[in-house]
């Protein structure tokens, strides 16, 4: 089976004042086309670094990242990114912010078409009526929704998200999980989601990858065999609860605090 994203033996170290800081160590991740891959791991283990390598913002010291059969050497137009900090351009309206990637990726696109596309997405995430507001007039959750729209407005093949819901309260976060699920049902894309929320990884993911502590390796891969049309209630399903337990244990191991509880 051919994978859309193939991360093969990737190692990377940052150069710091105190010498090289190894962050990733022979990391291997495979994501089939259309799958949702959630990545969890201890804080500071190299998750953000992984997103920068997959998007081509950085190149690894060793190993290769292959996207749709081609090695990633620089950023591509077929990738969408949502960041933990949903920075919006304050001088643009929400609609203009969402349209921004189209100006780069499809400059030949008619403005009215671009607007219609952006409006469609804003409507899907429940931001209809806010398109002409400035980012400063929106709440954090609303800004994150808009940032999601911006990440997929150009219909990317791959969506990479770095803890996009990390700064939100629980209810808003669960709302956004469902928005995410609906977006994927409406227009399928392959997705890599970095998160520190295990419930989020099980609710959204088709597979959950647990990274070890720094330097990060693939420590554990969990296949989430739950139905695709999930509701929040599924997290109380015994199967999901078991998975959450397994992941919890794996994180404890990754943090180097194994044992004691069994």
């Amino acid at each position: 089976m051919k994978h859309l994203i193939d991360i093969k033996g990737v190692s990377h170290a940052y150069k710091t004042k105190h010498g090289p800081l190894p962050v990733l160590d022979g990391l291997t991740v495979e994501v089939p086309k259309g799958e949702f891959c959630a990545v969890v791991g201890p804080s500071g283990c190299g998750k953000s670094t992984l997103t920068r390598l997959v998007s081509g913002l950085m190149r690894p010291d060793r190993g290769t990242v292959i996207l749709d059969g081609q090695e990633v050497t620089s950023p591509r137009k077929t990738v969408g990114m949502a960041f933990q900090n949903p920075v919006m351009l304050e001088w643009r309206t929400i609609l203009e912010n969402v349209m921004l990637p189209l100006e780069i990726v499809a400059p030949e696109m008619k403005k009215s078409d671009a607007e219609a596309r952006a409006m469609h997405l804003l409507e899907m995430v429940g931001l209809k009526g806010f398109e002409n507001k400035r980012p400063s007039e929106l709440s954090g959750g609303m800004r994150q929704r808009a940032s999601l729209c911006r990440a997929i407005v150009h219909k990317p093949q791959v969506l990479i998200m770095d803890e996009p819901f990390g700064a939100l309260d629980n209810f808003t976060r669960e709302d956004l999980w469902q928005t995410m699920r609906d977006l994927r049902a409406a227009e399928p894309f392959t997705c890599v989601l970095i998160t520190h929320d295990l419930r989020e990884s099980v609710f959204l993911g088709d597979q959950v990858i647990v990274l070890s502590g720094r330097p990060a390796r693939t420590q554990y891969v969990l296949n989430v065999d739950l139905p695709a049309d999930r509701t929040i209630d599924i997290l109380y399903d015994p199967k999901a609860v078991d998975m959450l337990h397994v992941l919890r244990d794996q994180i404890r191991i990754a943090q180097g605090r194994d044992g004691g509880l069994h």
């Binding site: 620089s74 137009k77 990738v79 920075v87 400035r134």
Partner: protein, 254 residues
């Protein structure tokens, strides 16, 4: 109501200031060759109104031209310093040193370099005195651009120039206009400095000097008031531009 208040309040303050001035001159019983009072001014304006128009225009266009040059040069310099740490390290001390030199000392230097080029010297001085704040603010604005902003477009493979045009440039506009408000006043000072000091100068500065030579105090004060008026005009011109181009940065009232 709010609009009326916006104009009426500062107007009342100006009238109060003039009244106080008049009162102090009257209470001290100063004759108008010691200190002119506001009531002396209308006569001076009536007598020299055409000179005020001609000279005022001279001062105005030289200031604006000098400032325009400062904007172009300062922005370019700021871009170089903003994007290259090497250029920043190299140029910063030089710029600070240049800025520290009192510009009055440059007047004779310029006068000797470009003898008789009064317009040119005046514009050059307005430019020299006013580009520094612009260069510094643009440089700092660009060099402190958060990587998150850059990454939005970098992740799509946008070129450095596109990132500059779509993100870095608009993002530094508020800082730019903050600096421009300082620069416009500086350019105005530079223009007047040359006008006053040059022999055979033109502009409101020269008019001031002729008032001084002739012992015409009401004329001198009339020029000062005219200068203040032009200064206000220029400043609020910049404020208007700021509202248009960087109005988004203004906080909602309250």
């Amino acid at each position: 109501m709010e609009r009326v208040q916006k104009i009426a309040v500062p107007l009342a303050a100006i009238i109060a200031f003039l009244a106080l001035w008049e009162l102090i001159v009257w209470a001290n019983n100063w004759p108008n060759y010691v200190m002119a009072s506001p009531s002396d001014l209308p006569a001076a304006y009536a007598r020299f109104w055409n000179l005020f128009l001609v000279m005022g225009w001279q001062t105005l266009w030289r200031t604006i031209l000098g400032l325009a040059l400062a904007v172009v040069f300062g922005t370019l310099l700021g871009m170089i310093m903003g994007f290259s740490k090497l250029a920043r390290d190299a140029l910063y001390p030089l710029l600070v040193g240049f800025n520290a030199v009192p510009k009055a000392t440059l007047v004779p230097v310029l006068a000797l370099l470009f003898i008789g080029q009064h317009d040119f010297n005046t514009v050059l001085m307005a430019f020299l005195i006013s580009f520094f704040p612009i260069a510094v603010s643009v440089g700092i604005g660009l060099s402190t651009l958060e990587p998150e902003y850059r990454d939005i477009l970098a992740a799509l493979g946008a070129s450095k120039f596109t990132i500059f045009r779509k993100i870095a440039l608009p993002k530094t506009l508020p800082e730019f206009f903050g600096a421009l408000k300082v620069s416009v006043t500086l350019a105005f000072i530079g223009t007047n400095l040359v006008e006053i000091v040059s022999p055979h100068g033109r502009g409101l500065g020269a008019l001031f000097k002729s008032g001084e030579t002739n012992g015409d105090y009401p004329l001198m004060f009339a020029v000062l008031i005219a200068l203040a008026f032009l200064g206000i005009l220029l400043y609020y011109g910049v404020v208007a531009l700021e509202k248009i181009f960087a109005g988004w940065a203004e906080r909602a009232p309250g």
